[in-house]
């Protein structure tokens, strides 16, 4: 839930009483949402805060003083309303709904992916009856039907709450799902030759309160109660959708969206959700490599610290021989703000103005999917990973390498570079004879061409922050334990900077928290930002700045130094 509660302001406040507790709410808001906002549980199936009200499951019935029970989801609150959610009449109505929903629901919880996060299971314990009064055969329907390329449908489990139907008509606006038939033959379906296939289709599995719609990717993969979930941010574009990463034995099992009304509401795109294999598949680079003259065919693996020394040596000698501007640095928008800040520091240590972050771009859809296909392109700009005075931008650096002006190319994240640049320009740059130092987490066409290969880490192994396209700074959290002995990209930069400065690299550990403190001090808009202040939902640039301190009369000098934060 978004922050609110205490500081909430109402235009037309009314006072209602729920189970004897007085609650102030906005006139006309629906009772169910008011109750949920105030931590009062009213069970419900068809209601979803981001969809229109359907009012058909009848689970949220409460006593409001009217002769009949009212459905809380469609009852506007009015001043003086007294609500009872606990009486025997309400309990009986809920018991009735539960029993009626269950007479035709299959008892296949043991093979249902929803088990463990299923409304039907939870409410059955909370509000249902212990025994079954019918033994007659349950309704048959299609099972594990691929209703779309990324969603599996089990008709028998469906309770016809129509959340998915409303999702495809109101959110994705693709209208693939409808209820066909009438009465107890009603079922969710698609039109002939029009499967559930849109960029947001797996959200239907998230909002399905039961196991009727399931993500094909997660199907039969892991019981949800084994998942360790970490709150983080999706790295697939600059929207910065808030997600939870579900891990099992240090492997990502799934990504699911988490609610942030300022960013992704409660949705995420299918691409982002399914784009995580790179963190754990065979394309991950784990070993540091230094290629000399004599490696003849074998891959010369060295300890990472050795590779760092070698890389620093090459950078130093190139700078000494050809000037610092002969070094070109291409960073990555996949890194955290803190890492990018250290990248900028590293570039300053090298002394080259030729620094840039190539940003891969693609289609935007006006909803969640943004054109910038990395999470932190905005952060890279904010952190100053941009060409210095007279420096070259990404294409300039590639052209410089092709022309022989750039003698050493330091590339972070080759896949970003390749996606953002013209293939011929990259090839020409490589042909130009520059030494390639590659810091990367995954195999690419450039991997084999690097003189020094420094294995990096991926977002899910890091702590830090991303700045999304509209300048919202959000926390990412480590969910996966990185390989022993590896450094995150920020750690590689701090060590290289130390090596260049001639200090002890082992003392140059990267500390995301401390770096953020430094960013907060030095970079506009980030003032006041700490991990705690960002919380789980993030803060927009400028919004964390502490309120201007009141004049301090007790100060001996009479006034505080007028240093901008």
């Amino acid at each position: 839930m978004p922050d609110g509660g205490a500081g909430q302001k109402f235009e037309n406040p009314v006072t209602i009483t729920i189970d004897g507790r007085e609650i102030v709410a906005e006139q006309g808001d629906m009772l169910l949402q008011v109750a949920l906002d105030n931590g009062i549980e009213i069970p419900h199936y068809c209601y979803h805060p981001k969809l229109s009200i359907d009012g058909s499951c009848r689970m949220c019935q409460v006593k409001t003083g009217a002769p009949k029970l009212a459905i809380a989801c469609n009852t506007p609150v009015a001043d003086g309303m007294e609500v009872d959610t606990q009486s025997e009449e309400v309990a009986k109505a809920r018991r009735g709904v539960m029993e009626l929903l269950l007479i035709n629901h299959p008892l296949d919880c043991p093979i249902c992916d929803q088990a463990g996060e299923c409304y039907l299971q939870d409410y059955s314990y909370g509000y249902g009856r212990a025994d079954a009064r019918t033994t007659s055969p349950r309704r048959k329907g299609v099972k594990r039907h691929p209703i779309g390329p990324r969603v599996v449908f089990d008709q028998e489990r469906c309770i016809l709450c129509r959340r998915c139907v409303r999702f495809t008509s109101e959110i994705s606006k693709t209208n693939e799902l409808r209820v066909f038939g009438i009465g107890d033959h009603s079922h969710i379906g698609t039109a002939p030759d029009a499967p559930l296939d849109n960029d947001y289709s797996i959200n239907t599995a998230d909002i399905c309160p039961v196991g009727a719609l399931l993500s094909s990717d997660f199907h039969h993969k892991r019981r949800v109660w084994f998942l360790e979930e970490t709150q983080t941010v999706c790295p697939s574009c600059s929207k910065g959708c808030n997600v939870k990463v579900g891990m099992f034995k240090n492997e990502i099992q799934r990504l699911v969206p988490r609610r942030n009304d300022e960013v992704n509401e409660t949705w995420m795109c299918d691409h982002g959700r399914l784009h995580y294999a790179f963190a754990q598949d065979e394309t991950r680079l784990r070993d540091a490599v230094v290629r000399g003259e004599s490696s003849n065919g074998t891959v010369p693996v060295v300890p990472l610290d050795k590779a760092l020394e070698d890389a620093a040596g090459r950078i130093k000698s190139t700078a000494d021989e050809h000037g610092a501007a002969a070094v070109g640095i291409l960073g990555s928008g996949a890194l955290t703000n803190e890492e990018l800040y250290q990248l900028a520091a590293f570039a300053r240590a090298v002394g080259t103005p030729n620094v840039d972050v190539p940003v891969p771009t693609g289609e935007a859809d006006g909803f969640l999917i943004q054109a910038e296909k990395v999470a932190n392109a905005r952060g890279a700009r904010e952190m100053g990973v941009v060409p210095g005075d007279g420096g070259k931008d990404a294409s300039g650096i590639l052209a410089g390498a092709a022309a022989g002006d750039i003698k050493l190319l330091y590339v972070v994240d080759a896949r970003s570079l390749l996606a953002a640049s013209d293939a011929e320009a990259v090839q020409a740059a490589l042909d130009g004879g520059a030494t390639l130092i590659l810091q990367d987490a995954n195999v690419s066409e450039l991997t084999d061409k690097a003189a020094v290969l420094l294995p990096g880490q991926v977002w899910v192994e890091k702590d830090g922050t991303f700045t999304n396209h509209e300048g919202r700074v959000q926390r990412i959290r480590r969910a996966m334990t990185p390989a022993e002995g590896s450094y995150c990209d920020g750690g590689i930069f701090t060590r290289l900077s130390a090596l260049l400065a001639g200090t002890d690299p082992s003392a140059a550990r990267f500390d995301a928290r401390a770096t953020l403190a430094e960013i907060a001090e030095k970079i506009d808009g980030y003032a006041g930002m700490t991990f705690e202040r960002l919380g789980s939902l993030g803060v927009k640039l400028g919004d964390a700045a502490p309120a201007p301190a009141p004049a301090e009369p007790e100060s001996e000098e009479g006034s505080a130094p007028a240093e901008p934060a």
Binding site: N175, E176, L177, R178, V179, F180, G181, I182, T190, A191, P192, A194
Partner: protein, 173 residues
């Protein structure tokens, strides 16, 4: 692909538009017309065209087709004979009537006779309770106070009518 909806049918549908503030309201009427044109059912290919005509998504037409009992998404016999089996008709012998009808035609509900001429079905109350039992033919005509003995005569009459229509079709063709 060539359009499936005949031009005459299209015109008939379009002629209904002025009656309503929204084109969508013509949907049920359009489906009735389509069913009349295609011998009692709504072929799959017509749906996208009806949808386009009414500025709807095809799925919005499908959900309506599947909701209403009078619309058939599968072929039925050219004479679709249905017996009301609600309470008032059952009180006056609708069930034996239905059974006899199935015997005479050799089909069960949901089946079509081999020559494609007849299919049978049960139907909910047709509003003919005072003249029960009632038999409905092709969503159109009611036959009221039908006794078991009336059935063979009724079927003969229907067969003759189909023959006449066939002859008419041939002479036109």
């Amino acid at each position: 692909m060539a359009p499936v909806l005949p031009e005459a049918l299209r015109e008939r549908i379009v002629a209904e538009f002025p009656k309503y503030p929204e084109k969508r309201a013509v949907l049920l009427t359009a489906l009735h017309f389509t069913q009349e044109t295609f011998e009692g059912w709504i072929p799959k290919e017509t749906v996208p065209e009806i949808a386009a005509l009414l500025e709807l998504e095809p799925i919005e037409v499908w959900e309506v087709v599947y909701f209403y009992a009078m619309f058939n998404s599968e072929p039925v016999g050219r004479c679709h004979v249905r017996v009301c089996t609600n309470l008032s008709c059952c009180l006056r012998g609708a069930r034996p009537l239905m059974r006899r009808l199935e015997e005479l035609l050799g089909v069960r509900p949901g089946e079509v006779t081999e020559d494609g001429r007849f299919s049978v079905g049960e139907v909910e109350c047709l509003g003919s309770c005072g003249t029960a039992p009632v038999v409905q033919i092709n969503n159109e005509v009611y036959r009221e106070n039908v006794g078991i003995d009336d059935l063979p005569g009724l079927l003969d009459e229907l067969r003759q009518r189909l023959d006449a229509r066939d002859a008419e079709g041939e002479s036109e063709g």
